[in-house]
């Protein structure tokens, strides 16, 4: 089973990279692009066939290592 994990800065936490990209998009003429946020995408394989069990493992990975929950939030898709 594959886990597809997205880690992004929490809402309200300044994302300087997102801001820089937003300015760049603006200067390219994409004036309506707003609230650009940059994050990380991590995918990994698990031998687990049971989705619920796999999700427990992925959640633990996110909490312990993949995200720093002081500043980041995460979401994942299993499939």
């Amino acid at each position: 089973m594959k886990a597809k994990i997205h880690v992004t800065l929490k809402p309200g936490i300044l994302d300087p990279q997102g801001k820089a990209i937003e300015h760049a998009l603006d200067s390219l003429g994409f004036k309506h692009a707003a609230n650009v946020r940059v994050g990380k995408y991590i995918e990994l394989d698990l031998p687990e066939a049971d989705v619920t069990k796999a999700e427990v493992a992925v959640k633990a990975m996110c909490e312990k290592l993949l995200a720093n929950t002081i500043i980041e939030e995460y979401r994942y898709e299993m499939g």
Binding site: I13, L14, P16, Q17, A20, K40, L65, N68, I70, I71
Partner: protein, 238 residues
């Protein structure tokens, strides 16, 4: 005193720390490879600057799992002195030995230049050689020094005088303009509630010798050494 300097894969200020403690301050220095599970016999431990594990995932995020970090946690719990400089500070945050986290510098740039920092608390094992509110000129060199924590934790840090160093102007005024990286409350260095673990982004080991034209950093490192010597003498008497 015997000062331990931890060496992670990617540490690059370890030898600067070794040089200052050994050759400038005349102490014994033990280089501690990150796989070492024990810190027995050491009086203080330095987590030096650098790019441990290539800063992969987040700064300090992987180094935190090195075997030596369990020993560092134990060492800190015993009340012994732990100083994290730059990447060492980032590792202390990731390890939960200090509260909060580092964000990318507000400017997105890697900033390598002199900064002025105000000693906000001169009654710590790391700053007692400084005068209260003394302004130190110490260089920074980092991309992720934009300190963040939640408002409740920040209020606690302020109330307990755990904010030890704040970026300021040359005359000691703490202003938004004097903060190089966007750090919350101009925080350049903070300690734990017990006061024996300090994390700081500026590099005191890079300005600890007259020959380099600046000895301000020596005050931080010499505070540690002199404090340890005093404690040893007091222990010897009793």
């Amino acid at each position: 005193m015997n000062i331990g300097v931890v060496v992670f894969p990617g540490s690059n200020c370890d030898h600067d720390c070794q040089y200052v403690f050994r050759d400038v301050l005349g102490q014994d220095v033990t280089m501690v490879w990150h796989k070492e599970p024990s810190l027995a016999g050491l009086d203080a431990v330095i987590l030096p600057g650098g790019f441990s594990y290539g800063d992969y995932l987040r700064t300090g995020a992987i180094a935190r799992f090195s075997p030596v970090m369990q020993a560092v946690k134990q060492f800190a719990t015993e009340g012994k002195l732990v100083l994290g400089i730059c990447n060492g500070f980032q590792i202390l945050l990731e390890a939960g030995l200090l509260p909060g986290a580092m964000l990318r510098n507000k400017s997105l740039h890697f900033i390598c230049r002199e900064t002025f920092v105000k000693v906000e608390n001169a009654a710590t094992p790391f700053t007692h050689a400084c005068k209260p509110s003394q302004v130190l000129k110490i260089p920074i060199a980092h991309a992720d020094g934009n300190y963040y924590t939640d408002p409740v934790t920040l209020a606690g840090l302020q109330a307990n005088a755990q904010i030890i160093l704040r970026y300021c102007t040359v005359d000691g005024t703490v202003t938004p303009g004097s903060c190089p990286n966007g750090s919350l409350d101009n925080i350049a260095g903070l300690c734990n509630a017990e006061g024996n673990v300090l994390g700081m982004m500026p590099h005191p080991e890079r300005c600890a010798e007259a020959m380099l034209g600046n000895e301000d950093g020596r005050l931080i490192l010499a505070s540690m050494v002199e404090g340890l010597k005093k404690t040893k003498r007091a222990e010897a008497v009793t």
